[in-house]
Amino acid sequence: MTGTPLLSVEDVAVDLPTARGNLRAVDRVDLTLGAGRTLGIVGESGCGKTMLSRAILQLLPKKAKLSGRVMFDGQDLARCSAETLRKLRARSLAVVFQDPMTSLNPVLTIGTQLIETLQEHLELDGMAATKRSIELLAAVGIPAPEQRLAQYPHQLSGGMRQRVAIAIALSCEPKLLIADEPTTALDVTIQAQILDLLAREQKRRHMAMIIITHDLGVVAGRTDEVAVMYAGRVVERAPTQALFKHMRMPYTEALLAAIPKLDTAPHTPLPAISGRPPDPTRPLIGCSFAPRCRYAAGRCEAEKPKLAAAETADHLYACFHPIKLAAGVGA
């Protein structure tokens, strides 16, 4: 936590004009991430986590308007030229997406995609790039890597494709890797393997990583810090242990409680969260979670709570009636 963080997202907001009015996908988010650390961003669909990752990567749709600063390695990505951004990508900033079938080019061989990236960004020649590609494929756990170079994405299984996508992302030794739902489309046994792989590579390369997911289980064991998003805002942010052990946001508590767990007896009714997330084109004046929150009171509907730290400096939350510190993990 000493020195300037590698990534600093400052007051970032993303607005999308839609037919139904302005859609605030990301509502003034602040985040920091130090080199070599892992941040987990957790939220359900529509909470803005994907838009936030696109904002960091500067891959927003054309119609979107971005405000705020995205400081990466001392530069504001939102104000960089296209050329600077291009150089930063792959070299410093890499991304792994959810669906490897669509993130890999289906008409190019694995080898071509890997070698092209290496040649483009590291300026290696053909032979060196091929050798490096084989090393990378072996490092991500793909058996018989030499044969894979000539194969097409559709000839590989989902897990293999995701490994290839990770290999491409890691090929140029990035400083930050953003993994956007990297295992959601995969089976649970393969999921564990891929997450292990990411953790291993991160340690080896001292890389910073952001894991975006809807699964609290994925972030529990594999992140240093967790940020929970709801309706476009970060509603709680804390070191992982602190978040699970002393959660303050009712939403985090409710989310954790609503997940079926393996140690609960069958036919135990699940504490479901009633209602649905708010319509992003019609934002509420007060707290976005208030209509569904069992602790909500008058102030919650009139005013939006700010994300702030109270008792401990690194545990921030946005709530007027946080859960009492004495309570443990709900569930």
């Binding site: 359900e44 649970v188 969260i273």
Partner: protein, 326 residues
């Protein structure tokens, strides 16, 4: 070999084999699966993608032709039925799908969609149909007045799934197959729908076959659980018992791989080796042997059958995990 039920089972699947042709290769989707479901029980069927659980669900409903084997519903053989008899049988057995929005015809109004089973069953009076549609919509927690005249794209995933459940319930079926009913839904909506299914089961006296890949979800709603791998059953047993003391190495592997939302539980270095083989060329003998840390020569040469490992629990393994009393 299976649990001796005191009452005849409502559904009995005997040695079901389902294969289909892709290109010029045969995919062994379901290979010799037998199971029983007693009236009023929920059997969870769990496995990863490609294990054949969805195919099994569809084959039970005769939506996919079986190569061999029988499906007995309330004593009658569904595989031998055709035409009108089969159509009548369909009213007693219903299906809920994974993608709730794709399960609804985008160009038809909700009211018509839910009334469709009634029309097919020959209920001619529109007032009676509307009445039953309204009743069932209320049961699933939707206001009929706001829902009946609209199109599916106006609703969220969770609401569409409620509509699908309403459609499945409108004919008062006895048996419902739920094929991954909550996988496509958000975490907070999943709990709502699972609670709803439990409540509907109690209210309408249903028997369920609950197919999913998420073990925790399956455990939450099932009395007994069956684990499938590459077209064959690995293990069957009561939920609590099976998850507390799994006998088959694959079950143990699945349990271990689940990410637990507790930071103190260090995710174990996964013992899963490699990827599942293709159902086009499954391994000889035990199909799990290529990824099993306990596999030996016997596993390659001899196909294990489901054998009792504990009262009520059966595993198809030559070296089940009870050897060490684990």
């Amino acid at each position: 070999m299976m649990q001796q039920a005191t009452t005849a089972p409502l559904l009995k699947v005997e040695n079901l084999v389902v294969e289909y042709v892709v290109g010029n290769k045969i995919v062994h989707a379901v290979s010799d699966v037998s199971l029983e479901i007693v009236r009023g029980e929920t059997l969870g069927l769990v496995g990863e993608s490609g294990c054949g659980k969805s195919t099994l669900g569809r084959a039970v409903l005769q939506l996919r032709p079986a190569v061999s084997g029988k499906v007995l519903f309330d004593g009658e053989d569904l595989t031998a039925m055709q035409g009108e008899a089969l159509r009548k049988m369909r009213r007693r057995v219903q299906l809920i799908f994974q993608d709730p929005i794709a399960s609804l015809n985008p160009r038809r109004k909700i009211g018509d969609i839910i009334a469709e089973p009634l029309v097919i069953a020959g209920i001619k009076d529109p007032k009676e149909r509307l009445d039953r549609v309204s009743k069932v919509l209320n049961a699933v927690g939707l206001d009929p007045a706001l829902v009946v005249g609209r199109l599916p794209h106006e609703f969220s995933g969770g609401q569409c799934q409620r509509i699908c459940i309403a459609r499945a319930l409108v004919l008062n079926p006895e048996f419902i197959i739920c094929d991954e009913p909550v996988s496509a839904l958000d975490v907070s909506i999943r709990a709502q729908i699972l609670n709803l299914l439990e409540e509907m089961k109690a209210r309408f006296g249903l028997t369920l076959l609950f197919i999913a890949h998420d073990l925790a979800v399956v455990k939450a709603v099932s009395d007994r659980v069956a684990v499938m791998y590459l077209g064959r059953l690995c293990e069957v047993g009561p939920s609590e018992q099976l998850f507390a003391k799994p006998a088959h190495p694959y079950t143990a592997l699945l349990i271990e791989a689940i990410p637990v939302p507790d930071p103190d539980v260090r995710p174990a270095e996964s013992v899963a080796v490699g990827e599942p083989p293709s159902p086009i060329a499954p391994p000889s003998g035990c199909r799990f042997r290529t990824r099993c840390p306990r596999a030996d020569q016997k596993c390659a040469s001899e196909m294990p059958e489901l054998r009792t490992v504990r009262p009520g629990q059966y595993a198809a393994c030559h070296h089940p995990l009870t050897d060490q009393g684990a």
